[in-house]
C-alpha cells in the first residue's frame, strides 16, 4: 500500500461515520487517500484504517468478491467494495455509506442478524424426494436439471439486493430478494421434494406480495442471481396454492 505522505495523486473519500458511544447520529468524515489505478474502494478504506484513522470499522475478508462481507453504498449504489475500482468511478469525491435499509451498528457495519434468520426460515436444505444412503452413491442430475436452479445457488449473501429494495425499506419484515433466491434454489433442485413445506414463507405481506417488481435487486446483484425472478416465480406459486387450498377444502 502506498505511503500517504508521498503519494502524487490522491482521491477523496466521504465516509459516513457512526460511533454509537459518541455520536447521536451518523455524519460524514472526509479522507484524502493516495490513488493508484488498480485500487479498489476496499483498499482505499484499508489505507484509511491502517494509516489515517484506525477507528474506522467495516467488514471484509476475501478481497475477491465471493465472501459477501463488503457490501456498502458507493456513490449511492449498493456495491461490493472489493470489486469496485476507483478508476471506474466518476472523478471527484467518492461517497461511501453503509448499506441502505439496514440498521447501522457502527460506521459501515450494519446488522445482519435479521437477514440470517430469513435465510434460516425458508428450509434452506435438500428435503430429499427419494432418500438415499451414501453407499448408494450420488443422485443423477443432468446439466439441464442443474441449469434450472444453478444461478440461484450463486448467491453470496451480500445483501446488496436488500439495500436496493424500497419495499424492504418500507417493511423490514419482507422476506426479500436474497432469501427468495435461496428458496428457489432448493425448490428448483431435481433432488428436492420440499416445495410444499416452503410455501408458508412466501405467502402474505411479509412473503412475496410486498414485491411490486421494482426489479433493481437483480440489477445490483454482483453475481447475476436474478432474485427478482425468484420472487416473481413464487408469486405464481403463492397464487396457485391459494386457489388450490379452496379446491382441496371443497374436495374434503
Amino acid at each position: 500500500m502506498p505511503d500517504v505522505a508521498l503519494a502524487a495523486k490522491t482521491v477523496q473519500l466521504k465516509v459516513l461515520r457512526y460511533r454509537p458511544g459518541q455520536d447521536a447520529e451518523p455524519s460524514y468524515g472526509t479522507f484524502e487517500v493516495p490513488y493508484t489505478d488498480d485500487m479498489s474502494v476496499l483498499q482505499a478504506l484499508q489505507t484509511i484504517k491502517d494509516e489515517l484513522d484506525s477507528s474506522l470499522s467495516f467488514r471484509w475478508s476475501c478481497r475477491m468478491a465471493v465472501c459477501g462481507s463488503c457490501g456498502m453504498m458507493i456513490n449511492g449504489t449498493p456495491k461490493l467494495a472489493c470489486n469496485t475500482f476507483l478508476r471506474n468511478l466518476p472523478k471527484g469525491p467518492v461517497t461511501v455509506e453503509p448499506l441502505n435499509n439496514f440498521p447501522i451498528e457502527r460506521d459501515l457495519v450494519v446488522s445482519v442478524g435479521d437477514f440470517v434468520k430469513k435465510i434460516e426460515s425458508i428450509y434452506p436444505y435438500i428435503i430429499p424426494k427419494t432418500p438415499k444412503t451414501v453407499e448408494e452413491g450420488p443422485y443423477l442430475q443432468t446439466p439441464a436439471q442443474m441449469a434450472a436452479y444453478e444461478s440461484f445457488s450463486d448467491c453470496i449473501n451480500c445483501m446488496l439486493c436488500y439495500a436496493a429494495c424500497p419495499q424492504f425499506g418500507e417493511n423490514p419484515a419482507f422476506i426479500g430478494p436474497g432469501a427468495m433466491a435461496l428458496l428457489q434454489r432448493y425448490n428448483g433442485d431435481s433432488r428436492d421434494g420440499g416445495q410444499q413445506k416452503r410455501l408458508d414463507t412466501i405467502h402474505g405481506e411479509d412473503g412475496v406480495w410486498s414485491c411490486t417488481a421494482v426489479g433493481v435487486c437483480s440489477e445490483v446483484c454482483p453475481k447475476q442471481v436474478d432474485p427478482a425472478n425468484a420472487i416473481n416465480q413464487n408469486k405464481t406459486n403463492s397464487a396457485f396454492d391459494f386457489f388450490l387450498r379452496f379446491v382441496r377444502k371443497d374436495a374434503r
Binding site: 457512526y18 454509537p20 458511544g21 447520529e25 451518523p26 441502505n100 435499509n101 440498521p103 447501522i104 451498528e105 446488522s111 443432468t142 446439466p143 439441464a144 441449469a147 434450472a148 444453478e150 444461478s151 424500497p166 425499506g169 418500507e170 428448483g188 411490486t212 417488481a213 421494482v214 426489479g215 433493481v216 437483480s218 440489477e219 436474478d226 427478482a228 425472478n229 416473481n232 416465480q233 408469486k235
Partner: protein, 133 residues
C-alpha cells in the same frame, strides 16, 4: 451495559423518483395508465355505439378533433413505452427457459418477445388498413 445502539436511517420518501432505475420503474408503472386510458377511450366509443347513431357521430367528431389526436399520440407513446419495458421485465417474472441444458439469457427472451409484439402490431395495422381501404 452495552453501548450498542443501532441507528436506523429514515428511508427516502421520494425513492420512486430517485434518478436511474427507480425513476425508470415509476415511469414504467405510470405508462400503464396510458394503456388504461386508451381502454377507456375504446369503451366510451362502445357506449356511444349502443346509444345510437347521434352519439356515435359525436364520438367520431371527437376522434377527429385536435385534442383527441394529441391525446392519442401521447397515449401511443405511453403504450409503446409500456410494451417495450413490459417485455424487458418479462424474463424476471417467468420460470427459467432451459434449451439444450442451457438457460436462455434474459436479453434474448426480451428481444424475441419484443419482435413478436412488433410483428403482431404491424399485422394488425396492415389488416386494419386493408379493411378500411
Amino acid at each position: 451495559m452495552s453501548e450498542s445502539r443501532p441507528y436506523r436511517r429514515p428511508i427516502d420518501p421520494k425513492w420512486w423518483w430517485a434518478p436511474g432505475p427507480y425513476r425508470a420503474y415509476t415511469l414504467r408503472e405510470l405508462s400503464g395508465v396510458a394503456v388504461a386510458l386508451y381502454g377507456a377511450v375504446l369503451f366510451a366509443g362502445l357506449i356511444c355505439l349502443v346509444s345510437g347513431p347521434m352519439a356515435w357521430d359525436s364520438f367520431l367528431g371527437f376522434l377527429r378533433s385536435p385534442v383527441s389526436i394529441v391525446l392519442h399520440l401521447v397515449l401511443l407513446a405511453g403504450v409503446v413505452y409500456h410494451v417495450k419495458t413490459w417485455f424487458e421485465t418479462l424474463p424476471k417474472t417467468m420460470p427459467k427457459m432451459i434449451v439444450n441444458g442451457k438457460q436462455v439469457p434474459a436479453t434474448e427472451i426480451t428481444r424475441k418477445a419484443q419482435m413478436v409484439a412488433a410483428g403482431c402490431s404491424l399485422v394488425l395495422v396492415v389488416i386494419a388498413a386493408w379493411a378500411f381501404r
